[in-house]
């Protein structure tokens, strides 16, 4: 099975929509790879300090954000742009339905945490790395300054099957 986890980047805002994750002007592409340079290109965070080209974003394999991540359009491009940039997991308080489904359909993780657990992650300083135990349904999030946080989560059993199968197409092709 695919490996999950890695260095994390924080996006401290709720309701980040798919237009911000991948703007519509790139929807004319017919390959996933062509989306790569445009990750989070139109995202604005408080104070306007967000830079999609920063080292934190470029190295991230995990995104940690607030609630209702991925709202708006159904474009799976918003998941692919994460995928082609090496991001295999998004941790949030909640997701928009289509986006969350697209994540599991592609065989990558959308993990929901309680607000106070998320707040603990946002308080971590320094470089943060996430590892995940899918059987125990537990995240371990640690910072390079030594601090670490354990968070339980629960995965829908069907979504777990999709992850194990490597996505919905492989699952459905084998079963229906």
């Amino acid at each position: 099975m695919k490996q999950f986890g890695g260095p994390a980047a924080f996006l401290d805002r709720s309701d980040i929509n798919t237009d911000e994750i991948i703007p519509a002007r790139y929807l004319t592409e017919i390959s996933k790879a062509a989306l790569k340079p445009h990750l989070l290109e139109d995202l604005h965070l408080e104070g306007d300090t967000f830079d999609p080209r920063s080292e934190e974003i470029q190295n991230a394999q995990v995104l940690i954000t607030r609630s209702n991540f991925g709202c708006g359009s159904s474009r799976e491009h918003a998941v692919w742009v994460l995928e082609v940039n090496g991001i295999n997991m998004v941790i949030a308080e909640s997701f928009a339905r289509i986006f969350r489904q697209n994540m599991f359909n592609c065989g990558i993780l959308a993990i929901e945490l309680k607000k106070n657990d998320l707040d603990r992650l946002f308080k971590l300083q320094g470089k943060v790395t996430v590892s995940v135990d899918l059987d125990k349904e537990q995240l371990s999030v640690s910072s390079d300054n030594g601090a670490s946080v354990l968070c339980p989560f629960s995965l829908n059993p069907f979504d777990k099957q999709l992850i194990a199968a490597g996505g919905w197409l492989a699952y459905a092709d084998a079963k229906y």
Partner: protein
């Protein structure tokens, strides 16, 4: 315990329950457009799975950027066209017969009460207006739909919105749904189907019901739905007349889908629209909604009347009644995009296009165009647009542009004055 309309539709289409609470449904109508489908087609081809479950269940249209604006969009169209030919997909709508998917497919009678519908497009919820379960999905779901005719959903939960009162003059379905989104917020409907019921909805025509359901996704909902009734049967009559003795008989049959009185809802929102004012959005979230009076006088640069929300003939009639005999403000440019060829030719026959053109509107061919900022009226940085579309996200109609969502009447009034304007004094 009674069932909601959505639970009844799920029961009637259940193929598999892979784990408790997860349901795989047979899908009646799989709709495709050229933004999200070509990439699915290419992926299926690469995997050696270029097949379709049933060409009759697939409906396809080139609508988002049409005619193509450049080599890339021309290639997207070409991939769709060749795929439709290769698989004998008869209901494929190319240039000359194409229009905005969620306006075109209902017009063709493709969606019937009790149907399950998916499309790689978030505003697929529009088709819930016919008493169907219609959900936007991503490309992988679309691929599986095309290939296997199934789609997975979590067991449905429903939220009921009861619309009471008398709709005041100058207030339309768009104002009502904007106000509902304001109350529910952008994720108030997440993982739920919004049932729009109550006397106001019962009296609405199909165009208005489609406007309501169209924006259900802006409250995060999986879909919107209205109870199929005589209004639905009359709209669909040309397509179903061989099957039923009369529209009344069809309506009676449709009523088997209606939610039971003792069905369970996550939440019930009651509202009275008798005192509702015309609504408008501010900022970049569709739940940022206020009375239009609070923003009156805000200058706009562009007017956009069109889209799957408000590009139907009923919308054009209202807007035309306001611009009739007047000239648009010289500080604005105004764009009208009839949603389908039928709307276009009706507007032509009724003399509406002339009214718009005489007042200074540019009339475009049916397309999504500037609604998603891809062509035909994209905003420049700093531009402000009074728009009848459904999304005001940052960058939606062009990077750095601001979109104020409103009804066609309000957009028409803004065209005349050049500023955000309460449309009521301008109505005939």
């Amino acid at each position: 315990m009674g069932k909601t309309i959505t639970e009844k539709i799920f029961d009637a289409h259940l193929r598999d329950t892979p784990t408790p609470g997860n349901m795989v449904l047979d899908i009646d109508v799989i709709m495709c457009h050229e933004i999200t489908t070509p990439i699915a087609i290419m992926d299926l081809m690469e995997k050696g799975m270029d097949r379709v479950c049933d060409p009759k269940r697939i409906k396809a249209v080139i609508d988002h950027v049409t005619p193509p604006k450049d080599a890339k969009t021309a290639m997207q169209a070409k991939i769709m066209r060749e795929w439709a030919r290769r698989h004998s997909i008869k209901d494929f709508f190319d240039i000359g017969r194409n229009g905005v998917c969620h306006a075109l497919f209902p017009e063709k009678g493709f969606i019937r009460p009790g149907n399950t519908v998916i499309m790689g497009d978030s505003h697929t919820c529009t088709h819930g207006a016919f008493g169907a379960f219609a959900a936007g999905v991503g490309t992988t779901d679309l691929e599986v739909g095309i290939l296997k005719g199934v789609c997975a959903f979590r067991a449905p939960r429903s939220l009921k919105v009861v619309v009471n009162g008398m709709v005041p003059k100058g207030v339309y379905a768009k104002d009502i749904v904007l106000n509902i989104i304001k109350q529910l917020t952008v994720n108030g409907g997440t993982d739920m189907v919004i049932e729009f019921v109550g006397p106001v909805v019962e009296q609405m025509d199909m165009a208005s019901r489609m406007t309501l359901c169209n924006m259900a996704v802006e409250a995060g909902a999986t879909s919107g739905v209205c109870m199929p009734d005589l209004v639905t049967a009359q709209y669909l009559w040309p397509f179903i007349k061989d099957k039923y003795a009369s529209p009344e008989a069809a309506a009676a049959e449709f009523s088997r889908w209606h939610s039971d009185p003792d069905a369970r809802y996550e939440r019930v929102l009651e509202m009275d629209v008798s005192k509702l004012e015309p609504q408008v959005t501010f900022g970049y979230k569709p739940d940022n909604v206020q009375d239009i009076g609070e923003m009156a006088g805000t200058p706009v640069d562009q007017i956009y009347i069109g889209s799957c929300t408000n590009g139907r003939i009923e919308d054009l009639r209202v807007a035309a009644s306001i611009v009739h005999g007047k000239t648009i403000a010289d500080t604005v440019r105004a764009i009208l995009v009839p949603a389908t060829p039928l709307v276009y030719s009706q507007a032509l026959e009724e003399g509406l296009l002339k009214i718009f053109m005489d007042s200074g509107f540019c009339v475009l061919n049916p397309t999504c165009g500037a609604c998603l900022g891809m062509s035909s009226g994209v905003l420049a940085e700093g531009d402000v647009c009074a728009s009848t579309t459904n999304r005001n996200f940052s960058g939606r109609m062009g990077k750095g542009g601001m979109v104020h969502l409103m009804s066609p009447a309000s957009a028409a009034a803004a065209a005349i004055t050049g500023v955000i304007t309460d449309p009521r004094p301008y109505l005939p």
